[in-house]
Each structure stands twice: as structure tokens, then as C-alpha cells.
Amino acid sequence: MSDLAIRVENLGKRYRIGTPQRYKALRDTLTDAMYAPFRGVRNLALRAARRQEADAGADGGFIWALKDVSLDVTQGEAIGIIGRNGAGKTTLLKILSRVTEPTQGWAEVRGRIGSLLEVGTGFHPELTGRENVYLNGAILGMTRGEINRKFDEIVAFAEVEKFIDTPVKRYSTGMQMRLAFAVAAHLEPDILLVDEVLAVGDAAFQKKCIGKMDEVTRQGRTVLFVSHNMGAVLSLCVKGVLLDAGQVKQAGPVQDVVARYLEESMAPEGEVCFAEDRPDVGEELRFAAIRIIGPDGKPNGSVDLLKGCHVQLEYHVLRPVQSAQVAFELYNSVGVCVLSSTDLDSEPERMREVRVPGRYTTSCSLPPDYLRAGRYWIDIASSVPGVRMLDQIRNAIAFQVLDTGSTESKLGQGRRGVVAPALRWETSPITKVPQQ
């Protein structure tokens, strides 16, 4: 019997265009009002028409961040919500967690909701770690008794036992993140809404967070998980929902949905450039572009299995930064990380080096006869290992590897394995029975 935890019916949310407009001064409204009488009847009619247009959903100053979204979530299900930036993922979570209200439609949520739209909400730098655990816990919806019970566990998870009575402003960023995530991870709601919070901290910490999330989903909680980390979505979630321009494009088994998303985010031209004004962009180093370069030296999103390709990254160093690395992770279509590599691999002796500001390009070769045919995507990241993340882009580019006559296909065999490198075999006789 399917017990619904969340039921969403025709949900829509409309924003005024330019809503990153932070606030307006009263003056603007007053001048608007002052000029209004002089605009004449014609303008009034025009405005009325425009308003109608806006209500009709055409862009007359409004944008639908979410439109006609319907979906049911059964209790105990883990659902991954994916889509491009601005597809409405966060808006959906914000409505379900009651941070903001829908413009139309309705949703019914059964059970206690915990939402994690951000790690460390309400942390105060002047308060000690201990005080912040209580404050943050209370903000996230825990009772004092609950926090008391889990306090030791939280502190142990965050690995900050020694500093628990130190103001968090003396913590390193990593410690703050760990403590903040630890509080959130010990929230025990019936329904957990998580938005991209795993994208913080270094790789080791991210791994720990995903491990914890996995534990949570296994406990049979209902989880709605928004992420650009396809690997995490594929491993944590059972079902997926693909949002595009505020609407549900596909919903179903998570692999199908992720496959569809990857297919759509394929860059056939083999090149993706990144906007300068991405949110949370690095201030020391930021990525500018990624390319899949074919044997002819030109970007191409379709890779010939027999010829291999180069992964080329372009980045800016904005401030001198020491001990940084630029790395990528290659994932196949089921979310298995095939390999990861960093630009220090070839020159480990450059590890302590300071990178000076400038524009750089770096390229890594993926050998021919190595990858299996199929779709792949690449996450790119730059970090000072174990210290901090400089810039990170999930699902930076997707490409496909085409089988143009691999040994496997020549032999007409199906094989297992994540990669299919053409390994060298040597056969030499030990004894040879002479042929009659």
C-alpha cells in the first residue's frame, strides 16, 4: 500500500522578473506613483493589457519559476531532483519547506519536515561551537531535548571535540562546515529536503556527507535531494525528477531520468564555457571552459573510441594561490566514477608551487581503446587538497564515446568492466606439439 508522504498538485510559483533585485527604496514606488497620473488613459489601457499578459504566463514582467508541477512521493522514497540552474529545483524545495508560498496549486506534506537548504543557517561567529549547535539545531526544528541527546554524536561526527567551547569565528572554514553539517545530519524528520548542501567542503568531507546521507535514506526516511552531483543522485536515490524551465520533464527510475538529463546536457560541439557570474564562484581560481578535443585538435562531443581524446580545461587564476590543483572526475552513465585525475599527476614536484594570476589551459589525454562506448560526464574541481575548494562545477560537460570497431565489438562479445582498455597480451609457447 502506497502511503504518500508528499503530494504536489499543479504547483506554480511566479516571480517578478529581475527578482535578484534585492529591494527597492520607497522613493522608487513614490516616483512611480507620482508619474502615474500623467501617463494618460492610453498608457493605462496598455498597462492593463500587459497585466493580463502577465497573468496569462507570457513574460510581461513575470516569470514562472515553477509551473504546473504535480508529483507524488511515497513514504520512505529517496528522490533526486535534477535539472539545469534555474530549472526550479530550489524553488520547489522552498515551497515544500514553507520558506516561500506558491502562487498557484497546492501541496500536501505528511509528517515532520526538515529542510537543509543551506549548511550552517543561523550560525553566529561570536558564539561557541556548543552554543551554535543548540541555536542551529533549534532553527532547523530540533527540540532542546533532542539536541541534548545527540550532542556528543554531533560533536564526534564533526571532529571538533577540542574546540567545542571556542567561538566558531576562530574555526577554520572546514571545521565550521563540518560542525554545521553534523547538526543538520542529526536532524530526524520524517521528510528531509536537501539542497546541494553536499557541494561544500573538500572531497574527503563531501564523501563523509554522502555517506551520512546514504545512511539517512537507508533508515527509510523520505528524502528529496536536489543536486548537480549525478554520482550522488544515482547512488542515493531510487527515483528521479527532471525539471526544466519550471516544469517536470521526466519522472521515474533515477537512471532513466539521469540518462535523459545527460543526453540533454550533451554538448555536441564538445565545448562548454562557464559564466563569470556563476553563484558561489571561486575568488582565487575559476574555471572558464572545458573542451573535449578530438584527434584533429578541434572540440567534438563525439569521441571515437579508437582514437581517444583530450580533456582540456581553461581557467583563470585571480589571486596567487599555493598548493592548488585542477582536477576532474569522469563518470559513466550509471554514475560510476571511472577515474579521477589532477594536473599534479604528471608533475607531483610542483605541488608546493604558487600559481600566479593569469589565464591557463591544461589538457589531459584519455588514451584510445580505453573507455567503453557510451555516455560520460565530467565534474571538474580545483582545490587546495584537504584545505578548501577553489571552484567546482558538477556535470561540466557530457560527451559520448562511439564504438567504431573495438575489439569487443569485433569479437561480438559482451564484456563486463567499467573500462575496456586494450591490454597487451603476449602468448609464447612452452611446449609445442609438432604438427603431423
Partner: protein, 297 residues
């Protein structure tokens, strides 16, 4: 990895389809666009009382962090104002003080006044200060200005202790009317809160509030009988004077503690009526605007 992906159940129920609604005792929240009328939902406020406690406690804890004088500011502010008032109004301008030594006459009014001014300022800017939290987590937004007002009571307590000390110094015995004092403290707090409901909700969209506040409290101070006795106001205008609720509070403080000034009368009733209108109106306005806080903050 692959086997993990395989541990799932079929996709029934995810996409819109026929389903049976089960009667469940678990708490169900229905989310829908709100109409123009929004109930206040006191029950929910009560459910979140622990958060109110933590928010208030946080405000108190961080208030004087990394200051040299720390909590001394709670005493210094009214004391310095008293000194200035005593020199300029008491000495130089010769403002009457109901026959009391001018310093205690002024200080006795400054204590509730500063409670009010502080509560009003903090609470009015509270939503703006908390905008990060407001855009990320749900809780009844009313808690934010309420906690700001509550935390200003600590400063009041300290300044009040100094007032008691001064009464010893001037050998003034409090009257039995002191028992009414808690009511007037509450009245000052509710007045501040009522206005803060309006201003804090307004400030989310219009940051003009920040600049208007300093000006507002300054003017309001002079419209309140802090530096002068309300007996300077002609008798027949006195009920109208009650439209400034703080005038009633300040007068009541002098009446209850120092035994001078006007006992509460018609003026107080005018004040009570004004505050009820302000408070209820503010509450409804706040609730009405609440839905847009996260979008425009």
C-alpha cells in the same frame, strides 16, 4: 554501485496517477497560496517556543560581544542621557521637574524610554538582520521581532537596578503603586512590538526604515515627557496626549516609583486604545506580508 541502483522499488505513485488517500494520524501540512486574510495561529507560535527562547538567548549573548564596556553600555546609555538632560534642560533651561531632583526625574523616564526605543529599533530591523535564515528555513516569522523585543528587557533590568540605587541615594521611597509597574513595562514592550510589526515587515521591502528609525525615535523622545513633566501640557489636551502611549508609560513610572506626576487616568485609556489598534493592525499586516518575506528579502 550498480547493485545499489538496483535496490529500488518500482516507480508507482511518482507521477500523477490514481491513488487512494489514506487517513493518517500523522501531521499533515497543506501548502497553498494564502488569501488576503491570514489567521495569526497562536498555537504554532506556542509550538515554536523553544526557538523563541534560543533566538532571544542568542541576541542577549552576542549583544555586547567584543565590546570594551560590555554590559556597561546598558547602564551608560541612560546615565549619559541623564547627565546631558540635567545640564541642558534641568540647569540651563530650568525645565520644571515636579519638585524632584532633576537627575532622577529624567532617569526614571529614560529607563522605560530606552527600553522602548531599543526594542523598537532592534525589532524593526530584525527581519532584515535575519534575512539569511528567513530565506532558508521555515518558522513563524513573528518570532523574529518578538525575540528582539524580549532581549531588550535584559538591558532594561540592569538600568532599572541602577534606578533603584539612585532612589536610595536620593532617599526616595517607592509608593505602593510600584505593584502596577510590571503592567507598564509590558505596555511599553507591546507598544514597541505593535509598531515593529509594521516597520519590520515594511523594512523587508523598503530599507528606508533603517534611516527613518533614528529620526523617528528622536522626534518621539521629544514628544514624550522624558525631559519635561507632562504637567506642561495643558489639561484639556492631556487625553489627546495619550495617543502617544509612551507618554502614559513614562508618567506612570514617575507616579509609581517617585510618587509624583499624574496618576493614570483618561490619558492611559486613550493610550491603551491606540496600542490595541496598532498592535492588532500590525499583527495582521505582518501576517499578510509574511508570504513575500523570503522572495523580496
Amino acid at each position: 554501485m550498480l547493485s545499489e541502483v538496483g535496490r529500488q522499488s518500482p516507480t508507482k505513485g511518482l507521477v500523477r496517477g490514481a491513488h487512494v488517500r489514506t487517513a493518517d494520524s500523522a501531521r499533515t501540512v497543506v501548502i497553498r497560496p494564502r488569501s488576503w486574510w491570514v489567521p495569526v495561529r497562536l498555537g504554532e507560535l506556542w509550538e515554536y517556543r523553544e526557538l523563541l527562547y534560543f533566538l532571544t538567548w542568542r541576541d542577549i549573548k552576542v549583544r555586547y560581544k567584543q565590546t570594551l564596556l560590555g554590559v556597561g553600555w546598558a547602564v551608560l546609555q541612560p546615565l549619559l542621557a541623564m547627565v546631558v538632560f540635567s545640564i541642558f534642560f534641568g540647569r540651563l533651561a530650568g525645565v520644571p521637574s515636579d519638585g524632584l531632583p532633576y537627575p532622577i526625574f529624567a532617569y526614571c523616564a529614560l529607563v522605560p524610554w530606552q527600553l522602548f526605543a531599543r526594542a523598537l529599533t532592534d525589532a524593526s530591523m530584525s527581519l532584515v538582520e535575519h534575512q539569511r535564515v528567513i530565506t532558508k528555513v521555515y518558522f513563524p516569522r513573528l518570532l523574529v521581532p518578538i525575540s528582539a523585543v524580549l532581549s531588550s528587557l535584559v538591558d532594561f533590568g540592569i538600568a532599572f537596578a541602577v534606578l533603584i540605587g539612585m532612589m536610595f541615594f536620593y532617599k526616595i521611597e517607592p509608593t505602593v503603586n510600584i505593584v502596577t509597574l510590571p503592567f507598564f513595562v509590558l505596555f511599553a514592550v507591546i507598544t514597541a512590538l505593535g509598531i515593529a510589526f509594521w516597520l519590520s515587515a515594511f523594512a523587508v521591502e523598503y530599507r528606508d526604515v533603517r534611516y527613518a528609525l533614528g529620526f523617528l525615535t528622536q522626534i518621539w523622545l521629544f514628544a514624550t515627557p522624558v525631559a519635561y513633566p507632562s504637567s506642561l501640557v495643558p489639561e484639556r489636551w492631556r487625553p489627546l496626549y495619550g495617543l502617544n502611549p509612551m507618554a502614559s508609560v513614562v508618567e506612570a513610572f514617575r507616579w509609581a516609583l517617585l510618587g509624583k506626576g499624574q496618576p493614570p487616568g483618561l490619558m492611559l485609556w486613550v493610550s491603551v486604545a491606540a496600542v490595541v489598534v496598532l498592535f492588532v493592525g500590525g499583527l495582521l499586516y505582518f501576517r499578510r506580508m509574511e508570504s513575500t518575506f523570503a522572495d523580496v528579502a
